[in-house]
């Protein structure tokens, strides 16, 4: 019996052809009432009138299921901003896809959640920005958001839909991790996913306000370890630590074009949500091509498969099968070259500079957030 998504895909990665994708993230819309300062959506958002139609999305779901996708994540922006969310869910479920809704909760009502349950929604991932109305609503820039989230968690429980709480942690809420975990248990979540902020998209503009200190990160790691013990069998805790304080980069998306794919609101198919920042790559849309063709044969998906593209440092490194040289978008952002070793890696010549920069940003006394669209 093999284990997680990543492991299952690993076992199949030996073939010269890419393995079929396990997961698809459908960014149904970029519209969102919240304004999180670490939003990972691109700076230039897709407008509502460019979004794929209901029929077009359903067609993508069907192609995804045929291609071998098992998990479908309905995301955004705020997916509840799509009026056809229930219809989309029902269609996805009918193709056998394990359908997960990633939401801020805003835009969901008790009736809508009951309809989603009826349509067969498998799971909800609800984001929280903090543990009190004051802290959470300040961070999300949306008054009343916290209260709505609490209500949504209750409605999901009533409707019998299993719940994961998503929390992004950063300089300004790192001390609340304990309380976030307790809150997740109170909300009857089975799982919490605590991810340290990453500096893609909008987050780049708030680096100084978000970068946690080394001490904060170390404390968080201890907190998580203890909570895992306390809540064994009650709450699964998935924790993504800060990569700028670790030794090695993360395997981005389980490896470029290996495990999953993203579809943007207008139907562009990407290996990862930030891939469009990489110059020189062109990404096809499902309006002009099939999902299978894009996954197996497009230049963009093949660009960073295997190790031919790697710098010698990575190609000769035994960890290349683990982290695939790290994140391409991060290499671009920090090294100015998407083909470089991820500068987070201790073997990268740029690592020292990065550490100094992170420490300096972390030491910056608290600064105000720059909010999206405000």
């Amino acid at each position: 019996m093999s284990d997680t998504i990543t492991l299952t895909a690993d076992a199949m990665g030996k073939t010269p052809r890419a393995p079929p994708p396990m997961a698809m993230l459908a960014e149904l819309t970029h519209r969102c009432p919240l304004a999180c300062p670490y939003c990972s959506n691109p700076i230039a958002l897709t407008r509502a009138n460019e979004e794929l139609s209901t029929e077009a999305w359903i067609g993508v779901f069907e192609q995804a299921a045929d291609l071998g996708v098992l998990h479908l994540h309905l995301s955004g922006g705020e997916p509840a901003a799509r009026r056809d969310l229930v219809d989309l869910t029902r269609a996805a479920v009918s193709f056998g896809l394990y359908t997960n809704l990633i939401t801020s909760g805003v835009g969901l009502t008790e009736a809508r959640i009951a309809s989603l349950a009826d349509a067969g929604l498998d799971h909800i991932q609800l984001s929280i920005q903090g543990i009190s109305p004051e802290s959470a609503d300040r961070i999300s820039g949306y008054a009343g958001g916290y209260e709505r989230k609490m209500a949504v968690a209750g409605w999901a429980a009533d409707a019998g839909i299993p719940l994961t709480i998503n929390a992004v942690c950063h300089k300004q809420n790192m001390g609340e991790i304990d309380a976030m975990i307790d809150l997740a248990v109170r909300l009857k979540a089975r799982r919490i996913e605590i991810a340290t902020v990453q500096f893609h998209g909008w987050a780049e503009r708030n680096k100084a306000a978000l970068m946690p200190t080394r001490e904060q990160v170390e404390r968080a790691t201890r907190t998580v370890a203890k909570a895992r013990e306390n809540y064994q069998g009650i709450l699964v805790i998935d924790y993504v630590p800060a990569d700028y304080y670790s030794k090695y980069p993360k395997a981005c998306m389980g490896g470029w074009g290996r495990v999953g794919l993203n579809v943007t609101p207008s139907g562009r198919v990407l290996p990862c949500h930030a891939a469009e920042t990489i110059p020189g790559l062109s990404f096809e849309t499902i309006r002009e091509s099939s999902l299978a063709r894009i996954w197996y044969d497009s230049d963009a998906f093949n660009a960073y498969r295997g190790d031919d593209w790697m710098p010698d440092l990575c190609r000769s490194c035994e960890r290349k099968a683990v982290d695939f040289g790290g994140c391409r978008c991060q290499a671009l952002a920090l090294a100015g070259d998407a083909n470089a070793t991820d500068p987070v890696c201790i073997r990268s010549p740029l690592r020292e500079h990065l550490t100094r920069e992170a420490d300096a940003l972390a030491a910056t006394p608290s600064v105000d957030f720059v909010y999206r669209g405000r």
Binding site: M1, D3, D122, H123, R190, G233
Partner: protein, 96 residues
């Protein structure tokens, strides 16, 4: 706070949001949960399908022992190990 204790007298079933599915593209059966896809072999499938929320784990193991003509203690141990694993991952609902 203590997690659930599972014994031979426990009655369990798959939690909502966890299900078995044929994966035709890869020619395997998978157990799907949030963010997880576990490829499962025939034995695991048989155990999962036996978790009906009615029989105790002891009864399930005894039924298997009879059906496959195998030593009961060994089977009970395998079933228990697998079920505990599922429980830690929050993939089970404990009925009693």
């Amino acid at each position: 706070m203590d997690g659930p204790v599972i014994s031979g007298a426990s009655v369990v079933k798959l939690a909502r949001g966890v299900r078995l599915r044929e994966d035709a593209v890869r020619g395997q059966t998978v157990l799907l949960a949030p963010e997880r896809a576990m490829a499962v072999d025939d034995i695991a499938v048989a155990i999962v399908e036996a978790l009906d929320g009615e029989r105790t784990l002891d009864q399930i193991a005894a039924d298997f022992a009879e059906k496959f003509d195998a030593p009961a203690p060994q089977i009970a141990e395998d079933v228990m190990a697998f079920v505990r694993e599922l429980s830690i991952r929050r993939m089970l609902e404990i009925v009693e």
